[in-house]
Symmetry: C2
Subunit: 251 residues, 2 copies
Amino acid sequence: MRETDFIGGFAKGLRVIEAFGEAKPRLTITDVSKDTGLDRATARRCLLTLAELGYAAYDGKFFELTPKILRLGHAYLSATPLPVLVQPYLDQLSEKVGQSASASVLDGTEIVYVARAAQKRVMSINLMPGSRLPAYCASMGRVLLAALPEAEARSIIEASERRPNTSFTKTEPDALMDELARVRRQGYAVIDQELELGLRSIAVPLENARGRVVAALNIGAPAAHAAADDMVEHYLPAMREVQAALRPVLA
Amino acid sequence: MRETDFIGGFAKGLRVIEAFGEAKPRLTITDVSKDTGLDRATARRCLLTLAELGYAAYDGKFFELTPKILRLGHAYLSATPLPVLVQPYLDQLSEKVGQSASASVLDGTEIVYVARAAQKRVMSINLMPGSRLPAYCASMGRVLLAALPEAEARSIIEASERRPNTSFTKTEPDALMDELARVRRQGYAVIDQELELGLRSIAVPLENARGRVVAALNIGAPAAHAAADDMVEHYLPAMREVQAALRPVLA
DNA sequence: TGACTTTTGTTCAAATATCGCACAAAATGA
DNA sequence: TCATTTTGTGCGATATTTGAACAAAAGTCA
């Protein structure tokens, strides 16, 4: 790609949108300038452009995003076959086992939820399509990392900010790589309260007809409901069925 | 705002992202150029920029969005207090009445779901945060339109593509304005299979402490489950409670 | 309070990058 | 194969970015 095939202003604008996140609903020009590293004048122009287009609101001091910004993510969710295809299977699965079922894909060091069928929520975090979790300590993340070449998986793990969420959280790269090897052998991953106390989950890869892993499927359950060892016998068979049913359907 | 405070390249890029939607997962340069009205060279540069940044994938012929694009909408959902505040109330409400509960806001002629607690799905359409429906024929849309000045509501209705989804769908602007007047009087809206056969729903406005309507709350139920008249007595009391509980909490 | 310092927002003209046309090349399809 | 459509590229005209300078607001301390 040539130098002139890149629109700097567009790229900068996208960085400005991403600056709004996690507990930062209202930002001043200077905030955005600092977060993005853009010049204050440029940040201001990006923000005013967003406001002019209705993607942001401006009260003279603070900018905040408007719901119109959801159009951008919606363009993906409604246009991509994966979420639409897996949703009914998640609904059935979730109904059958009485726990929440989700599907996700990998984006950098994080997993992104692309579809979800929730039963009454047990986690403190609220997950929905578009939500993100660090891959290294989520069951679907382990499954997706295990599907990558070793070197790539290790580089993602090392690039992750490995904060111990609970006393169970594994953070050592070598320990995590061993874990991935196990996941690869078994064909599933079980997470026991590494993300949040009281939450266990199990995940399997979703492959397409050509055998490529395109997403992961999981079931999360309160720790009180099933011991770590029971997760496999309770949930894995039903998940295997979904896995098999989706294989010929996925692109 | 001055002319030079607007970044054309950014605005064009956003139009390109929005070109991907509803059954258009894969677009060529020419497709995008036609959909957006942008010059081919410009569309190409926007697409290559998206690809370079990892928001899109390019196989030499087709572009498609990647899950990274969800970061943009997620910036809103996780940064805005509304979805986070209402979610637990939706969960409780949904649990209590055994039907799906949702919250939405208005964006142009459409309502946008910002939070949802789903019970087993009865609708053919799959709704999730970020999903959109035409305001004129959705219960939450009626409530949100009723909260606007009459002239504004009418102009939105007239700007809507009023396709009869079922034989029940009201499409006449005057009939719809009458309906809005009723909704305003009653303080709630009931939709009887105007969006989809077999689906009834009831919505109430969510006001903040200053009395401004900031969102709408609804419950959807299969038509088999409750007659149109029963919707009110079955669901309205519980919805009123949520409405009252949220009033002091919302900004 | 009032003077001083720091932070924040805005403006401007020079330096730089983008836009869109026109043309060439490549792919598609009859 | 030829006609048609689609894609890639060079270039002048046009629009944007930059960074410093200025103005305004907020914070600080005696």
